[in-house]
Subunit: 239 residues, 2 copies
């Protein structure tokens, strides 16, 4: 007997309704939602039930709640978009701001591995972005970013791209990145790594493979980063 759950609590239904509204853009990033009272009245449930749904949304960082003011659709501001999923810090533990250098953008047919990772149809078009990131003015990370063109029409014409791509995704294309699945390996610098990051071939590199997942569960971005960790570390707290 492996049945689907026979029943969804009311607050989960309210939660689903709110997520849909946000995904649709009925309330835009940065805007405030109706008050708990107003939502409760509109949906014919008690305020406590709305509250429970909103609290879940806040935990998942889809909304922000401010006592005395209201509940706001969370926004990937430039600042936060840069750091929410960016785990690299200088060795003292300080976040250094990455800047871009040497950006190239082109569109082409998706390769087999890209089709698989991003759940694309064969023959789909993608945009490939290559850019080197500087920390304290020195090249430290090389990123290759693969985007399905269908989800980001015309993004290859928007050069130069902003520092914080996730903010662009959210505001211009409505794709709200809410989770990132990362896989890390140690590798050796190849010739092209050495050139881009001013290293010797054979130097150790941290290779990071990230799939960015949007609010609706779609895999929206594949990003591979190759990082010189002689002056940086990837810091994460597990709990």
């Amino acid at each position: 007997m492996d049945e689907a759950p026979h029943y969804r609590p009311l607050y989960r239904q309210v939660y689903g309704f709110l997520v849909k509204q946000i995904a649709d853009g009925s309330w835009r990033p940065g805007e405030s939602l109706p008050s708990e009272q107003a939502l409760a009245a509109r949906l014919n449930v008690s305020q406590g039930t709305v509250r429970k749904a909103l609290d879940s949304l806040a935990v998942e960082k889809l909304v922000e709640r401010r006592q005395g003011k209201g509940t706001y659709v969370a926004e990937h501001t430039q600042e936060r978009a840069l750091f929410r999923f960016f785990r690299l810090t200088t060795i003292g533990g300080v976040r250094a701001i990455p800047t871009s250098a040497g950006e190239t953008v082109r569109r082409r047919e998706a390769r087999r591995d890209e089709i698989q990772r991003l759940n694309l149809a064969s023959g789909a078009l993608v945009v490939e972005i290559n850019r080197t990131r500087l920390i304290d003015g020195k090249p430290a990370i090389h990123e290759r970013i693969i985007l399905p063109l269908a989800l980001f029409p015309g993004i290859d014409k928007r050069t130069p791209l902003p520092n914080a791509l996730y903010s662009l995704y959210q505001h211009e294309y409505g794709h709200n990145i809410v989770a990132a699945h990362e896989e890390l390996r140690a590798e050796l610098a190849r010739k092209e790594d050495a050139r881009r990051l001013k290293l010797k071939p054979g130097a150790p590199l941290l290779h990071i493979d990230r799939i960015g997942v949007a609010l609706d569960g779609m895999r929206v971005e594949w990003r591979t980063s190759r990082c010189d960790t002689s002056h940086l570390v990837y810091a994460v707290t597990l709990s």
Copy 2:
């Protein structure tokens, strides 16, 4: 005016009380807490307030709640202790079970970096554990674990140590590891790495530096792992 918060909500006070009881061992791992009703009566608050505190504890994985049964003090079972903070998977994404080989345990005075990382007094004694971990029978990870002897009296006499150390820490010493701060870098295999992991010197290694933090906030363990990531990846989901 940088004042301390003027007031702590009731449910936070209840939360603090419960954490203290668990830390003290008043309820032992695996045992059930009193029911919400009973706690509410004992503490003179409403059941809803107790519930809110228990829900926080459940989110932080200090307790587990089972509908129809009760609320239980979370337990680092062998199984879960192994995997809760273990992010290495085989490339298909499957968790492989590590086994131990070549374990050495000795006690000595703490070195400067250990004193700093574990907040020790100078001259404090530590236990150093070195062991190589096998995945699918092949050496893949070398761990060096530093423990303050004061927190783990006699642990150096307990060889061979179990596979899941965190379970031992919790049940035998009352140190409940609830968070791990990890820092990752790519490095090259040195001669001793090469010997232990059957690699060539100069092969890439993932170096993981972990501080294990206990329930009371104490830094209880410093663990450095050096991993051959040719057949493994470090997988983590950011959100």
